[in-house]
């Protein structure tokens, strides 16, 4: 123990002392906390690639400041997220925190954002209520009510009367179930059954069997990014497509990250979402091309674009404050900011700090030999209905 202890003490002290990033006065550190390992690692990869692409395209200097992007792996565990957030703020003097792959992880960092007065830019987690947990939370991804309510409206307009909902049993899933259901029933539709599948559940077969027994017009689904393919395949395997059951949902189930590989099972699925890699705009074409080039052909998904926009938001805010990187100044600059993202026009609602954006209704189609979510209807400037209802 003795030799080990003394060497250890020296090594520990050295490591602890050495770790603050080269912090000169002119640098602004953005702490990006993501699940880089474990089941949500693909989210982390897309986010990291999106943020890095922005840095690469726009250089690391803005308003006279040098931007340092520090990416940390929280392994998807909330207490680790919290520790990393604390470390980034206290030790690396991060001017903003970014990322947060899942709702509990975004919530974990909220008290630190509040106490340290550092903006927390949520670029993934999509439970509507997250932004209420701290006045310093800003979101560039989306909220589930934002996508679910328009989906219900579209279903009502297109002759769907009976729906079974299947959602993953955690915050975002509950949000999706609630907002789809309420909107749909208010418009005269019927929810036959509401099924919640556990988060750790690779096999949807028993739940889909229930759907088959219920014989609805459509099944509305929310599963976290990554579970879409297994859901789609089992949907077809049950013969639900042949039985005339429409598959509708939020865009998570036809995630661009996986869509190309899901295969024809996904054809015809209709989803409502804020981003598709097939979005027809010059900004998006440039974004997709640059992203695929930088990442060995990997197609960007809504996670990548949210991280890209998160960086964009920080850059724009720094320009507006003329380099003042203090938390309250950045936050003030972010509120009400509007710009053109690869997904279309977006802005930050100054009241709720949540993103306002177009929601597109899309259908999975084969274009140029690959599957894409092809947008065919646009609902412009959608605010998060959950918070809009309160204000």
């Amino acid at each position: 123990m003795t030799a080990r202890t003394s060497t250890l003490c020296v090594a520990l002290a050295a490591l602890l002392a050495a770790s603050p990033a080269l912090a000169d006065d002119n640098s602004v550190t953005i702490g990006m906390i993501l699940p880089m390992t474990g089941p949500s690692a693909s989210t982390g990869k897309q986010e990291k690639a999106g943020a890095e692409l922005y840095l690469q395209q726009h250089g690391d200097t803005v308003a006279g400041k040098t931007i340092v992007l520090a990416v940390k792996d929280d392994t998807g565990a909330a207490d680790v997220t919290k520790r990393l957030a604390q470390d980034l703020v206290a030790n690396d003097h991060a001017a903003a925190l970014m990322g947060f792959g899942l709702t509990p992880l975004a919530l974990a960092a909220a008290p630190i954002a509040t106490e340290a007065k550092v903006p927390e830019i949520v670029t993934a987690a999509a439970t509507a209520s997250i932004t209420e947990k701290s006045p310093f939370i800003v979101r560039t991804s989306f909220t589930l009510p934002q996508a679910s309510a328009p989906m219900a409206q579209w279903a009502l307009n297109n002759g769907v009367k009976k729906v079974v909902t299947i959602v993953t049993d955690y915050g975002p899933g509950v949000d999706a179930e609630k907002w789809f259901g309420e909107t749909f029933e208010k418009g005269g539709g019927t929810i036959v059954e509401r099924i919640r599948a556990p988060l750790k559940n690779p096999d949807f077969a028993p739940f889909l069997q229930r759907v088959a027994d219920d014989k609805p017009d459509a099944v509305f689904v929310f599963v976290p990014s990554g579970f879409g393919s297994v859901f789609m395949k089992q949907f077809v395997e049950r013969g639900l497509d042949k039985a005339g059951v429409k598959l509708i949902g939020t865009g998570d189930v036809t995630d661009d990250d996986q869509l190309a590989d899901i295969g024809d099972a996904a054809l015809g699925a209709v989803t409502a979402h804020h981003y598709s890699a097939a979005h027809d705009s010059p900004e998006n074409k440039a974004f997709v091309a640059a992203f695929e080039k930088a990442n060995a052909g990997m197609r960007p998904n809504f996670m990548a674009v949210a991280a890209y926009d998160g960086m964009d938001l920080v850059y724009r805010a720094l320009e507006k404050t003329k380099g003042d990187a203090s938390g309250p100044a950045l936050l003030a600059a972010m509120k009400g900011m509007s710009w053109t993202s690869p997904r279309g026009p977006v802005s930050i609602d100054p009241e709720t700090r949540d993103i306002v954006q177009n929601i597109y209704v899309r259908k999975v189609e084969k274009t140029d030999g690959a599957l894409y979510n092809v947008e065919f209807a646009t609902i412009p400037d959608v605010k998060d209905p959950y918070k809009a209802g309160k204000h």
């Binding site: 690692a41 690779p202 395997e237 049950r238």
Partner: protein, 287 residues
């Protein structure tokens, strides 16, 4: 009702193929190989990549999904695993967790974090109706293949000379050596077969579980361990019954009482081990 039963059997069969290799190494060789899932992942990747890059038909990739992990298994067995045969369970657990931790980033580095899909040929997609019972073709295929594997394994281990030699080698390696049995070779082959089975299981499971990704080795680790523990040390049959029991209970539980679905398998395992610490189908000797 019958559909659910059938789904449960199919799911159980899948668990069986994933776990059968583990039950060989753990039940027969007394080696706790938590890296078993890594071999399954290799098999899944072999099938997915062969189909994607070379356009190989699904059926053709399956032997490769057995062989590649089996060869990898032999190499690792000869170089690393064999050093730990006599080691404490703790050392085996740590060592194989270490291998898992290494395997996952390697897969991530080479192949990316997103799941790779296995695309089934048309004749295996969709479902058919038998006497009004909707049956997925692929699940039927799984039941057939896995049943055949179970039978082959059972014959291999019980009826063949190799099986007898293996059992002798496990019971007492020194005595077996004295009888002229090449214990080293027997263990290496057994380990390779176990790894190959894992790979085959991974390839077959890939479609059902939404593809292969780097976290595959851990995703099914617990389920595989449960199958083997419930089945007990009596090699293949125990694991088969354990897997079928779990599969049926799990699927039926999720269908009928979704609210407690996930409890069932853990509950069954703990209850089983309380009543029979050696598993349901053990030889009865306390090892």
């Amino acid at each position: 009702m019958l559909t659910i039963l059938f789904d449960g059997v199919a799911y159980g069969m899948l668990l069986f193929v994933l776990a059968s290799g583990l039950s060989v190494t753990l039940g027969l060789m007394n080696f706790i190989n938590l890296a078993h899932g890594a071999f399954a992942m290799v098999g899944g990747y072999v099938t997915a990549l062969l189909m994607e890059r070379l356009g190989a038909p699904f059926l053709v990739t399956l032997p490769a999904a057995f062989l590649v992990p089996a060869i990898l298994g032999i190499v690792l067995e000869r170089t690393l695993y064999r050093r730990l045969y006599g080691a404490s369970p703790l050392d085996q657990v740590l060592f194989t967790i270490g291998l898992v931790l290494m395997a996952m980033p390697i897969a991530d580095y080479w192949l990316g974090a997103e799941a790779r899909q296995v695309h089934l040929p048309d004749w295996l997609s969709g479902s058919l109706s038998l006497y009004g019972v909707g049956i997925s073709r692929y699940r039927l295929f799984i039941v057939g293949v896995c049943g055949a594997i179970a039978a082959a394994l059972q014959i291999f281990l019980v009826r063949t000379r190799f099986g007898a030699q293996l059992r002798a080698a496990v019971d007492d390696a020194r005595v077996a050596n004295g009888l002229g049995i090449d214990v080293d070779r027997i263990f290496a082959i057994t380990f390779a077969v176990g790894s190959g089975l894992a790979g085959l299981g991974g390839a077959l499971a890939a479609d059902v579980v939404g593809g292969v990704d780097p976290s595959f080795p851990l995703k099914f680790l617990v389920a595989m361990l449960i199958v083997v523990t419930i089945g007990g040390s009596n090699g293949i049959l125990g694991a088969l019954f354990g897997a079928l029991l779990l599969g049926v209970l799990d699927v039926a539980g999720k269908y009928y009482i979704p609210s407690i679905g996930a409890f069932i398998i853990y509950g069954v395992m703990v209850a089983t081990l309380i009543v029979r610490p050696q598993g349901l189908f053990s030889r009865g000797d306390g090892r």
